[in-house]
């Protein structure tokens, strides 16, 4: 996450800071968990440091994702790590979820679980911003899309309107634009 070179970012009318961190749940693309951690340690870390973290929801999600609390994070495959990271991010009752490439390098089974999990987390009170190149898999999640190229928005709009207007899926549109 970089500081903007120009312009201003506000979340819930506040500049990024302690408050915005408390209402934003961020899922980075990288494996950011400490190497010494077991899955249960990661859960405890989130429980201790985020007041909106729902441990029960996280445990249910772990079951759904077929992950064991005693497993060490270093022993997880890429797909399992992706599922764990998503469990941690979506178990917060945040106002805004920022998911950076949640499907990158993830196997098809994990992909389905991740998409189901994102769909289950959706509510009217929350916004989910997903950054992804794998449009095909997340097509059904999209309400509004931005196509970015070299830091600029080259196309944006309501997903349904774009589909009707262009007569093609967002994935096809993505391939056409790029």
């Amino acid at each position: 996450m970089l500081k903007p070179s120009q312009g201003e970012i506000t979340i819930d009318n506040k500049k990024p800071g302690v408050y915005t961190k408390s209402i934003v749940s961020y899922l980075p693309e990288t494996n950011y968990l400490y190497k010494w951690m077991k899955i249960k340690d990661a859960l405890n870390y989130f429980k201790d440091l985020y007041s909106d973290f729902d441990v029960e929801r996280a445990r249910e999600s772990l079951k759904f994702m077929e992950l064991e609390e005693e497993e060490k994070v270093t022993s997880l495959s890429k797909g399992m790590m992706g599922r764990l990271k998503l469990t941690l991010a979506l178990s917060r009752k945040a106002k805004l979820y920022l998911l950076d490439e949640p499907l990158n390098g993830i196997d098809p089974i994990s992909r389905e679980k991740i998409i189901t999990s994102i769909l289950d987390s959706y509510s009217e009170k929350t916004s989910i911003l997903i950054c992804s190149h794998l449009i095909y898999y997340i097509e059904k999640l999209l309400d509004y899309v931005f196509f970015l190229s070299e830091g600029r928005i080259i196309l944006s709009g309501d997903a349904e309107e774009l589909r009707n207007k262009r007569g093609m899926s967002i994935d096809k549109l993505f391939q056409e634009v790029f």
Partner: protein, 247 residues
Amino acid sequence: MMTLFKYEIYRRWRWLVLRYAALIIIGAILLNRVSSTTYQYEFIGESMGKFIFSSLVIFIIIIVEGINMLKEDLFEECGYLTFTIPKKGRTILASKLVLLFLQLSFWTIISIGFGSILFSKLPYHEIVQIKTQINFYFFPIVLFILTAFFNFVLMIHFSLTLTKTLLVNKKYSGILSIGIFFFLVYLIEKVYYGPFLNQIKHISLEIGSRSNIDLLSGGYTAVFLNIILTAIFFTATTYLLENKINI
């Protein structure tokens, strides 16, 4: 802060235990050797030397770890875990510095403990002679070392944080951090310590008191200057951590 402090310990407890256990074992072995032989001054001196060397090695490890505590979070992926939590920059930095202070305290207790026992093994007249030779301003020196230690670590923390603020890319971050650090050292010596201590030296000469006032013998003045500088670096680093760094 205590929660973050707890996780700092979790991250490092194996190394913490290992390093102090190593120092205690070395101290105990040397003490055992000294105690089990008839008094040979050279042998006691040699053992003291070996213990001081071991203690210095551990001290250097503590400094390096003190620097790495923030460096890892700034330049490695685990930084997402630290800098996306809703905590103020000062809380994050303070949790690391408290652990560093505790480490330093343990090191001091073990070093002084074994050092004193080894020292007491010397013949009485020799102890008295050494004690009279050491013109020791205990409190100013201890305070000076303590404040200089934190000053040094925070100066490096500030250099690293400023680097992370200026650069997105990790590639040249090492060179830039070192450059910033040495520039700060030069600047502080030229515009901060230098003029202050020269002024004190000048006044001392005028009124005929001790003339050899420098960073070590300047006592409380140097301590005071260190505390101000430590506060400045702490504030500046926490400001950058909270508002300016690229994660």
